[in-house]
């Protein structure tokens, strides 16, 4: 057991930290709270990814032959931490980089690799993930978006929902039903769908936090050619699992730094808001809550380091992602509730700290639902880690 970074890990960190120091746009300075749907903002984010790409810092986990760095898991974690530490803008092409790219590398044809991978890295083409539907959420394999055969082509009709980045995406990793007669997992196909094709309509969904992070996407007689099948026809479930494993292998390493910054801000705030005529930070109950938030966040960091060690040794992602997701999402809700208790009515104000606490409290409500509900994560832990019999 040695929790220090190795010399090469330290070197990697220092190199990227130095690069960020020179390249994070000065005017950004932690900006960009809510709305992700303005064209200008999107262009700004594309330019930022382009900068990372030019510096050789896009898709670092990808093999070198496809333009990546072949970074180790720990280097990927360091990468996310450093991005967050530098308060860098978000990666607009994150779905392409962390989910679609690795899946194309694993299952795509040579043509698909040549066509899509460079564009994903450079941020020239943004991807979204067309998985969930109104009637296929946790039970994803129940999806019903139809793909009817017309000669070699597929004609797509149906609806996707909760699709992040769809409002700016050029492409969609789309799951469709190609065989309605087969058992539900065996009639699904994964397509690479052009979001600019005729018949695709995107409608932003406004969240309770006021911003529009995700969308509804409607497909009406959208034609897709046979070269756009990723994996094999009717074996799309395997493709989807490959993609989801890559998603969950991202253990939330970057988000922790954001949490840390929020907690530091809350501790600082507790010294200025009052309780019974004294700073809230002197109130024993407030101190208990802040300490609890601190220790839960610290344990998230430690759990992550253990999971990284175990993933590095095992090679393939396991249920670690579910454990991490369950922990951080519920922790984040508790912490934002503590913040509300400490700040009182100030915490609900849209102009107090630029509305950061009001926004964070509402936004965390979605954490235990998005990317697999807490219930689904517990099912996965119970069945795959503990070996309990399937419940459904």
């Amino acid at each position: 057991m040695d929790l220090n970074l190795t010399p090469s890990e330290r070197e990697f960190r220092d190199e990227f930290r130095a690069w960020l120091g020179e390249n994070v746009p000065a005017e950004w300075a932690g900006g960009g709270g809510g709305s992700e749907d303005r064209a200008e903002y999107i262009e700004y984010l594309r330019a930022w990814q382009r900068k990372l790409y030019d510096g050789g810092w896009a898709g670092i986990s990808w093999p070198k032959e496809f333009g990546g760095r072949g970074a180790t898991l720990l280097e990927q974690a360091i990468f996310q931490e450093e991005l967050a530490r530098a308060n860098a803008p978000q990666l607009v092409g994150t779905i392409g980089l962390s989910l679609v790219g690795p899946t194309i590398i694993a299952l795509g044809t040579e043509g698909q690799k040549a066509r899509h991978l460079p564009q994903i890295l450079s941020g020239d083409e943004i991807w979204c993930q067309g998985f969930s539907e109104p009637n296929a959420g946790s039970d994803l394999a129940a999806l019903g978006t139809k793909a009817a055969r017309d000669g070699e082509d597929f004609i797509i009709n149906g609806q996707k929902i909760w699709t992040s980045f769809a409002q700016m995406a050029d492409w969609c990793l789309l799951l469709v039903r190609t065989d309605a007669e087969a058992p539900k997992h065996k009639g699904i196909t994964c397509l690479l769908a052009d979001m600019h094709a005729a018949g695709v309509t995107v409608r932003p969904l406004r969240q309770m936090s006021g911003d529009s992070g995700f969308n509804e996407v409607f497909f009406s007689d959208v034609r897709i050619g046979p070269s756009q099948v990723l994996g094999e026809v009717n074996k799309g479930w395997t493709t989807a699992i490959t993609a989801l494993m890559n998603e969950r292998a991202n253990l939330g390493t970057g988000i922790q730094v954001v949490f840390k910054r929020q907690l530091e801000a809350l501790i600082a705030r507790s010294k200025t808001v009052e309780r019974d005529g004294r700073p809230a930070s002197e109130d024993p109950l407030v101190r208990q809550k802040l300490a609890q938030a601190y220790l839960e966040l610290e344990i998230l960091r430690l759990n992550t380091n253990r999971a990284l060690t175990s993933l590095s040794k095992a090679g393939a992602p396991g249920a670690e992602g579910s454990i991490q997701k369950l922990y951080w999402s519920e922790m984040n809700q508790r912490t934002q509730q503590y913040a509300q208790e400490i700040l009182g009515p100030y915490g609900q104000l849209k102009e107090f700290d630029k509305g950061a606490w009001e926004y964070a409290y509402l936004r965390t409500r979605g954490n235990t639902i998005e990317a697999g509900t807490s219930e689904i994560q517990r099912n996965i832990i119970a069945e795959r880690v503990l070996g309990l019999p399937k419940s459904y």
Binding site: Q288, L295, N305, L386, S391
Partner: protein
């Protein structure tokens, strides 16, 4: 970075599990619970033969001189076995002697401790039941070339079997550490029967007990610092022990959920039960991360070590209790019986929760460390 036990550490842990399964099965634990001291000389010899009573003791004093991560690995297995007796008490006292004692005193106590020939404990708590050294009131009066003790200590673990009791007393504004033989004149030890019968507590009365100057530990040093350092070591070891207890409860509960049938199916196929088990896993693994990190940080003298110990103890205190709670709930009626071994761990979780300070105590320590403006 490698947050995993090394091969030798894993081997040590495996051998600890095997030895404790052989020497300290649940039947033996129950027999010892019923005795006055929960101590068994044969079992103690077996631990000493492995070198565990001297695992942390420097090689110069006949110990193995290993680090806290190795100790945590063994302690985890002790917690899994719900090992009764004075191991942790002796470890705490030894850590105190190591920090506060002169070379002579270290040799005097640590060598026999490492050899398994001496058991010890620390007499710390008083009526306030506070782990805060500032709350101590027992005053050691100076006189006759040493100190004189008059008063009492409460909740002293294993005082009925410890050969030496290290009494922490006040000398004006500073602390003194006074080793007293259990059989010394003026010392009375009376059991305080408590929930967890595997870890016996005692009231210790001192009626005019004299301790010569040459016996006083850390007379010219920092007794308070030594007490804090030794408490941190013992707390980290206790946390690892708690993780082992949680793991036993989790394993036993999952096994039961797979076999117990209701409505024609194993109860473990119901999500209400699955989700309790998933939470138990999450808490056990989180507790493990925190406990081993505390052990590593103390070994490495990492600046975060002090906070790491409190993070671990605050989390483990709540988590062990919750894991034990859910374990009983999943078992249903059988889990509530005297016959089922869950009761041993349920009670151990409670006694461990308060030992060396509960979650509230350690959260306040964390608050002091992370909220100060310095």
């Amino acid at each position: 970075m490698d947050f995993d036990l090394s091969k030798p550490q894993k081997l040590l842990k495996e051998s600890a599990r095997a030895l404790l399964a052989r020497e300290c099965g649940a039947g033996r634990v129950r027999e010892l619970m019923e005795t006055e001291t929960a101590h068994d000389e044969g079992l103690w010899r077996a631990l000493a033969e492995q070198g565990w009573t001297g695992l942390l003791v420097p090689e110069a004093q006949g110990g193995l001189g290993l680090g806290l991560v190795e100790m945590a690995a063994v302690a985890e297995e002790m917690g899994r076995a719900c090992l009764p007796g004075a191991f942790l008490s002796t470890l705490f006292a030894a850590a105190l002697v190591e920090r506060a004692g002169s070379a002579e005193q270290r040799a005097k106590y640590l060598e026999p401790i490492a050899a398994g020939e001496l058991k010890a404990t620390v007499a710390l708590l008083e009526e306030s039941a506070s782990w805060d050294a500032d709350a101590l009131k027992l005053e050691a009066s100076r006189g006759g070339g040493g100190f004189n003790l008059k008063g009492r200590k409460l909740f002293v673990p294993d005082a009925g079997v410890a050969d030496v009791l290290v009494c922490v007393a006040r000398d004006g504004d500073s602390l003194v550490l006074l080793p007293v033989a259990r059989g010394a004149e003026g010392v009375t030890v009376k059991p305080m029967p408590s929930m967890d019968a595997t870890r016996k507590l005692y009231e210790v009365r001192f009626e005019g007990v004299s301790v010569a100057e040459s016996y006083v530990l850390g007379a010219d040093g920092d007794a308070r610092g030594a007490l804090q350092g030794a408490s941190e070591v013992a707390t980290a070891v206790l946390c690892a022990e708690m993780v082992g207890g949680m793991q036993w409860v989790l394993d036993t509960t999952v096994e039961y959920a797979k076999t117990r049938q209701q409505f024609g199916r194993p109860v473990g196929s119901f999500q209400a039960v699955q989700h309790m088990c998933a939470d138990m896993l999450l808490m056990t693994e989180s507790a493990r991360s925190a406990a081993y990190y505390a052990a590593w940080a103390l070994t490495e003298r990492d600046p975060s070590a002090r906070a790491a110990v409190s993070v671990a103890k605050a989390y483990c205190s709540d988590a062990y209790r919750e894991v034990a709670n859910r374990g009983v709930q999943v078992h249903g009626g059988i889990g509530f019986t005297w016959e089922h071994d869950l009761q041993l761990y349920y009670k151990r979780s409670k006694s461990s929760e308060t030992l060396f300070g509960d979650a509230t105590f350690h959260r306040e320590r964390i608050a002091r460390l992370v909220m100060s403006d310095e």
